[in-house]
């Protein structure tokens, strides 16, 4: 295994840097708003926040084209936003409205957008990996150039489907980039308490995949590493596993009292807040000013304000349509 920490800071244009920052801020502010709306009783069910992990989703998503397929988990607000799904259809989904990206059938854990080849949020841990295998197989069998990005957490590594899928992907040389967002916890169970071998990229290597790991708090490093992984897959070298080392700042879900880790540990990681780190770095290199930050914040604030308004004002699906999209019915 090779840990890809960028030896030198990868070059970035000011436009792209500001774009990345804005994307991370969209996710952060979107989720802060979602948490607020959850507390106000506007959003229900499970809500898993991605706060702290924004650099992994935003950095990695840059490596994928609109033709590529994306498979994510229940902690997928960030991936959906980074893939270009409008904040308003996501907010409406969490409000349970018919204008939501899944008509209010899925909620926070099940965002879908076939137009963007966003094949969804999967809430059975590990359950998305076989789907990614199949999407990649379909691309391979139809001689399409597309690749599939498959996101999952460190917890999924303990599931049989992780091992089955890595094996099958390598065996059939499928064009998949596996992106393991290792935030060191599966709910309250720390990585070293659920894995005998805690080096996840090593597991991939024994299945015959190319594999590396990267600092998931450094958006540029994540982007560069994912581009490398995607290029390798596009080049026909078979599947690749990239481990993105990150940390979630919030509890597992809104229902989690967060009793299994210390305040000190969280505070230590917050010093490496990916948004703060990146802002500081851009300021140092003169690419970012207070004015730019204020402008981004204002624009992002507007987008999210409008998303909430859209969700509030949207209609609910009529109950008469409850069974409409159930498969396997007789067609008359």
């Amino acid at each position: 295994m090779s840990v890809t920490t960028m030896p030198e800071r990868p070059p970035v244009t000011p436009e792209h840097a500001v774009f990345l920052l804005r994307e991370m801020l969209r996710i952060r502010r979107f989720e802060e708003k979602a948490a607020e709306m959850y507390s106000l009783g506007k959003i229900h069910g499970f809500l898993h926040l991605y706060i702290g992990e924004e650099a992994t989703g935003v950095g990695s998503m840059q490596a994928f084209t609109p033709d590529d397929a994306i498979v994510a988990t229940y902690r997928e607000h960030g991936h959906a936003l980074a893939r270009g799904m409008p904040a308003r259809v996501l907010m409406a989904e969490m409000y349970g409205k018919v204008t939501g990206c899944s008509h209010g059938h899925g909620g926070s854990m099940h965002f879908f957008d076939t137009n963007r080849r966003f094949y969804g949020g999967y809430a059975i841990v590990g359950g998305g990996l076989p789907i990614a295998i199949g999407l990649a197989l379909a691309d391979q069998m139809q001689n399409r150039q597309a690749i599939t990005a498959c996101y999952f957490g460190d917890g999924a590594v303990a599931e049989g489907e992780f091992h089955e899928s890595l094996n099958l992907a390598a065996l059939w040389k499928l064009p998949v980039v596996f992106l393991c967002e290792n935030n060191l916890y599966a709910m309250g169970t720390a990585l070293e308490r659920h894995q005998a071998q805690t080096d996840i990229s090593r597991k991939a290597a024994v299945y015959g995949l190319s594999a590396s790991a990267v600092d998931g708090m450094d958006v540029l490093a994540v982007e560069a590493a994912t581009r490398e992984a995607a290029a390798s897959v596009r080049g026909g070298k078979g599947p690749y596993l990239l481990e993105l080392r990150t940390y979630r700042f919030r509890a597992h879900s809104m229902a989690d009292p967060d009793l299994y880790r210390t305040k000190e540990e969280i505070a230590e990681w917050k010093k490496r807040d990916p948004i703060v780190l990146f802002q500081n770095r851009l300021r140092e290199s003169g690419m970012l000013t207070d004015e730019i930050v204020a402008r981004i914040e204002a624009e992002v604030g507007d987008e999210i304000g409008q998303a909430v308004q859209f969700a509030e004002e949207s209609p609910r699906e009529p109950v008469e349509d409850l069974l409409k999209e159930v498969g396997g019915q007789n067609r008359s």
Binding site: F112, Y119, I124, D139, M141, Q142, L168, V326
Partner: protein, 327 residues
């Protein structure tokens, strides 16, 4: 008309589908080099190559999930699961993904995947290869559950399944593979929305599906010899169930026996019985009877397995019990 076995009929349908539609491929354990655990796909590898007759590792959950993903990606996968007991390793993908994705995505995703599974007992394969769990699958909204019991249905139902926009499961009773029957030259996809009256009768209705159809027909012959005309209904499709055919028959005969190789408790026979109670209660002259498997993990020894499975004489006895003068 040509005579062939059930196995050959499934193979002929596979061959036709593979030939007609480049999106169709077959995937599963030992479907290629080995020729299929029940020799269904024997010879297809040579004809269509390893891309389309695709051997998989022993990873039921992942190759069924891959079937779902491939269907999402525009292919028409036919996934073979060697035996229904093994399908439990893929149940997560079937229930949580295949059946749910269309509705959960607000109608955006469709999963046109066909899954073929060998089911049932009677071959002395004991408690891990012999059960009839198709009723569990029939519990799941979002999929279709077909149980071809004849050579013609083995062919026509598979082709019909491939025309469906959502997941379809075909449960092939393993004792049927060597069954011989006729297939019309011009056969194509058949109607999968209806049950079929396989034998008309007026005194009582025997309702069954899959591997038990033959037993029900034999029982009907014995009953006829004793002066009782039994109507035999082959359900064919367990989900969505054609309750109308059942109810029509019971309205005429006023008595019903449901024969189901699954365990009695929570069986599909219980569902059929409830349908009759809900829709034809006033037409009944006797309580609905059920002939199911004994509630035991399937034993190996022949005499014990025979005792566990529904048998012709039990069907006959249950039927005679329903008709007072024959009781």
């Amino acid at each position: 008309m040509s005579k062939m076995t059930y196995r050959e009929a499934v193979r002929a349908a596979l061959r036709k589908a593979l030939h007609d539609d480049p999106r169709v491929f077959l995937m599963g354990e030992d479907v290629g080099r080995y020729g299929g655990a029940f020799a269904v796909s024997l010879g297809l590898l040579g004809e269509f190559g390893p891309e389309r007759i695709r051997d998989t590792p022993l990873s039921e959950s992942t190759f069924v999930g891959a079937g779902i993903g491939a269907a999402l990606g525009g292919m028409r996968p036919i996934v073979e699961i060697m035996t229904i007991n093994f399908s439990l390793l893929a149940l997560d993908q079937i229930l949580n993904n295949a059946a749910a994705l269309r509705h959960m995505s607000g109608g955006q995703l469709r999963v046109p995947m066909v899954v073929r599974v060998a089911t049932g007992g009677g071959r002395q394969l004991a408690a891990q290869h012999s059960h009839s769990l198709e009723g569990w699958y029939a519990h799941i909204p979002g999929i279709k559950v077909l149980t071809p019991a004849t050579v013609a249905d083995a062919y026509g139902m598979l082709l019909a399944a491939l025309g469906e926009p959502d997941p379809v499961f075909l449960f092939e009773h393993a004792t049927l593979y060597s069954l011989e029957g006729d297939l019309a030259e011009e056969a194509g996809p058949c109607d999968i929305s209806r049950g079929e009256v396989r034998r008309p009768g007026r005194d009582l209705t025997l309702i069954t599906y899959g591997g038990s159809l033959g037993k029900a027909l034999l029982a009907a012959e014995q009953l006829a010899a004793a002066g009782l005309e039994a109507e035999v209904i082959d359900l064919r499709t367990l989900r969505p169930l054609d309750a109308q055919t059942i109810v029509q028959s019971v309205r005429k005969t006023h008595r019903a026996v449901v024969i189901d190789e699954a365990w009695r408790t929570g069986s599909f026979a219980a569902e059929v019985s409830a349908q009759i109670m809900e829709n034809a209660f006033d037409d009944l002259d006797a309580p609905v009877a059920r002939v199911c498997s004994e509630e035991v993990p399937m034993p190996y020894a022949k005499h014990l397995e025979d005792a566990a499975l529904p048998q012709v004489d039990e069907i006959v006895a249950a039927a005679r019990e329903l008709v007072p003068r024959h009781g």
